[in-house]
Every structure is written in structure tokens, then in C-alpha cells.
Symmetry: C2
Subunit: 338 residues, 2 copies
Amino acid sequence: MTSAAGAVLDDARDRVEPAMRMAVARLDPANRLVAEYHLGYADAAGTPVAESGGKGVRGALALLSARAAGAPAETGIPAAVACELVHNFSLLHDDIMDADTTRRHRATAWTVFGTSAAILGGDAMLGLATEVLAEAASPTVPWAVRCLSAATRRLIAGQAEDLAFESDQSVTLERCRQMAAGKTGALLACAASLGSVLADAPASLTLSLADFGQHVGMAFQLVDDLLGIWGSPERTGKPVASDLASRKKSLPVVAVLAAGGDEADRLTEIYGRPGSLTDEELAAAAEAVERGGGRAWATAEADRETAAALEILTDLPIDEDVRSDLRSVTEMLCGRDH
Amino acid sequence: MTSAAGAVLDDARDRVEPAMRMAVARLDPANRLVAEYHLGYADAAGTPVAESGGKGVRGALALLSARAAGAPAETGIPAAVACELVHNFSLLHDDIMDADTTRRHRATAWTVFGTSAAILGGDAMLGLATEVLAEAASPTVPWAVRCLSAATRRLIAGQAEDLAFESDQSVTLERCRQMAAGKTGALLACAASLGSVLADAPASLTLSLADFGQHVGMAFQLVDDLLGIWGSPERTGKPVASDLASRKKSLPVVAVLAAGGDEADRLTEIYGRPGSLTDEELAAAAEAVERGGGRAWATAEADRETAAALEILTDLPIDEDVRSDLRSVTEMLCGRDH
């Protein structure tokens, strides 16, 4: 992470985390425990720990979004908390659906507390997100709540598509893109604009910020999909080639499958084998994605989306220090810093 | 059902259902299918059916709540749709957690579409509830959204308590009451007051309506718990003694267990047996609840809560026709009509 982006995220976390902790403290003890564990605030017994939660990207974008509208960062805090809660609700439920056992270097919540408690914990965080946002001291609260709800709906739709891909042998690249736009883009677009909504910004600015966030989201998903195949476990907090191990139809994979040819056949054949894939099989699958052009395509697409996001930024009528911070976060998220 | 209450519910359904259908139609195809199936609008393939969904009690209360504030019933429609969606979200997720296979005489959604799709379908309905409410044409939308979110939080907390009871050998009656107040009372209190919030009613009226709804909710839960032991499958849409079969610590059961004595020991012993309970064991468990005084206690408590609800109604400064409709619905819900 560049030190510039690191400083922006650290500063945002310092502002957002106290509000997050206060929000989660409203929950009943059982759901609070699940939420605090998932967020890295506590261990499974509720004892405070200094684990790393997420990077807080959505929270940081929400604060920058308020500043972009000329308001203090604080104006964006309810938006930041709401977006982080929706993000974490979706991770909690995704881990159940994908049967993932590791998240952020820790056992996933459902493996610790059971499926039912994890379903409820996610539900509680989703409800809490709206509650916090509705309490913001802004005349635009109704509109802000609509934006968050619509983004949540798109996020859930994307997740439903992702789920459908598992049993669908003919996923097109366009459909995969749409899925990623919903699953990842919608909430990042919301985060990047929701602070400006609370700051009562002109619609033109809010819409441009949402557009910027949508491109950032797509670039981020592409980079994340590359890391899901070639990322180191130290960096991802997940096992090696975890997306291949779970036979995910991620963007680089679908790029190869949809193009057809030898590498597509090879990948289809490996994905079709029963049981857990061995390290050798995972390596062969990764090689098929690489030779089939999936890695190069995803890298180029990520660059294109990043460029589009940065171009929107360049044209925004915002303070230079906010533009600079947004640029740093974009470059970090889009993998340009390593 | 009395014809008076039936007419009120039918009229409410006629007004609310078109808005519900429009709301659900916004969802992506996969989540829409799950929601429409669960709501009784469609079969598992999405073909429209004329199955019976729920009674629409929360929707009816929300419309009456708007009328109580002197507004037309239509003012309450976004509140009605929101409360029905939250109710159905919770049923969908509850069915997964309780592994229930039958709801409203049909196979539960998770048995038809799988657990993951049912989790997402519930998530989608919860998000949609907020979206619809936030779109209401009322200056009180922020407050309405807060009320709904707080009720949702209490509902989820109640469900978490219910879940915890499964493995807790020493549930007190007071804790069981609190659980029911959250799981059932919170959303009925919200429904009975949310229409008045959208109608910008005085706080005194809104709070009284919420108080009324809370008592109705408690009476309803007590009656529902009695039906969960002694209700006919034709009426409940569930198997005989389904709460005993799933070893639920419902209010009449906890009343006996918490009191201690021979029948409590007998019940504890039956609940402790491994595997499915036979019809004879279920009958013996029901007899233990009856002999231990659980049935009489729950019946008396339901009467007390119903009387409290009706007393609040009597004192409300509302039109007589609204009072009469609220009374009919209360008597139906609280089991006084059969």
C-alpha cells in the first residue's frame, strides 16, 4: 500500500471505527458478539483483540465523498458506517453460502458460531446500517436511504448471479461483468457518493462520484479475482488459489471459458473433477487461465477501469487535496501500488 | 375468523398486495422467484398461483394506523408493504434456522431453492422493505425508517434469544416473555404505529398505537404457542404439535419448565430423548404442559394482554369506525373469534 493511501485509510478508520463500535454496541449480546468477532473487534468469547478487520475502503470513500462536496469528513460518518455494515453483512452471508472457512486470516464467523447465528448476525448488521444512516443529521436522509437500499439490492442480485454461475456451464463474459458490477461495483459506487448525498451536494457531483466508484469497483474486482488465483496467502488472508479451489467462475476464468479453445476445455475438465483439487491441479488450472489469456485480459481490463475512474476524478470540481486522496485510494484499490 | 375481521383483512390485502407485487417485481429474477414463491404469488417455477399467502395482519394494521391518524388508508401503504416484507424476510430465514419444511401448507422456500438462495431471498426482502418505506411521500420518512429499523433489530434479537433457548436448560419465564416481545411484539407494534408516523400524527397517538400493537403481539404469540401444541394442521398449516416436535421452548412450555415439579421433569425428560418424537411422545409432552398448568397460564395471559390492548383502543382519540376495525382485528388475532 502506498503511504499516501495508507494515511487516508488510517485517518478514515480513526474517524469511522468509534462510530462503528457504537453502532454495533446497540445490538443484543448474541448478535453483537458475532458482529464484533466478524469485524475483528473481539475474539470468539467477546474479549477485545487487536486483529485486523477490513481495510475500511468503503468508509474511507464515504468520508472523501462528503469532503468532495465541501463538507467536513464528519458529515460522511453515518454513510461510512452504513456502507461498512452492508459490506460486512454481505461478507458474513457470503462466507456461509460459499462455505469459506477463512476470512482476514481468521476462522469465518459461521464456523465459530454456527450457521444460524451467522445468518442472524448478518441480518442484524444489514438492519443496523439503515438505522444509522436514517439518524444522520441531514435533510437528504430519505434520498440517502434510497441510495443505500438500491445499492444493497444490486449487491444481493450480484451475489445471486454469482451463485447461479456455479451450476451454469455457459456464463457469458458480459453476464459475469454485470454480476461483478452488482456484487462489488454497486456498494463502492454508493460509498463514493453517499457522503456527498448527506452533504446535500448537487446531483451532478453525486452522480459523477457514483460513476467513479462504479469503475473503481470493477477494477477492484478484477484485481481481486487475479489475487484469488495468483495472490499470496499473506496478502489475501485466504488459502492459495482459493477461487480455483472453490471452482469460482471469476472474471479471468470466464474470460477463458467464454473464449473457448484448448485452455477452456482444459479448465472445464479440471473444474469438473470430483472432490478437492490438489496443488498440482490448482497449478494446472492457473496455467490454463494464464495461457488462455485470462490473466492478461483481466489485467488490461483493470487498467482500463482504473483509467476511467481516474479520468472522472480529473474532471471533478473538487478541492485538490480531496482529489489527491481519492486518487491515492483508487491506485491502491486498483493494484497500481505494488 | 369473524366476518368483521375478515372484511378488514380482505380490504387491506386488496390495497396492499398490488404494492407488494410491484415492490417484489423490482428484484432480480432469482430473488424475485424466491420471494414470490414464499409469498404465495407463484409456484417454484414462477408460474402464478392462487395459493394463500399470509393473512397480511401487519399490512392491515399499518393501514388502520394511517386511518387512526385521520389520513386515508393509502397513506399507510408503504408502511404496510415494509412491515409485510420484514415479516416475510424473518419467516424465510427462520425456516432455514429451524429446518422447518412446511409453511402455509407448502414446502418452505429453502427446501425448494436451497439454503443459499433462501438466505439471499430473505436479505433481498429486508433491503426492499427499507427501500419502499424510504420512497413514501411523507416528510416523516427518516423517522419512519428509524422505527422500522429499530423494530427489525428487536425482532432479530428475539430470534437470537429463541435460538439460544435451544441449548439453554434454565430459561426463565421473564426471559421467554422478553424474547416473544422482541420476536413478535416489536414488528406488530411497528405495524400498528408506522402508518400514523407516515400520516405525521402526534407522538402521543403514535406511541399509544405502538403500545397497543405490543400487547396484541404478545397475545398473538401466546395464542400461536398454544396452536403450536394443540392447533389443528388445517388451521396452522404445520404438522400436529409442531412446536413440541421441534422441542421449542415456547411460552406455555417454559411456564411449566420454570415452575418445576413432576410435569416439568416429565417434559424435560421427553425433550431430552434423542431422535424424532413419536405421536405418543408428543401427546405425553402436550399432557405434561397441560397438567403443569402451561395451557391455563398461557390462555389467561393471552386474555390479559388482549384486554390491555383493547383498553388502550378504548381510550384512543380516533374515529369510531377505525376503532371498531382495530377491535375486530385484535379479537381475531388474539383468538377470541373461535
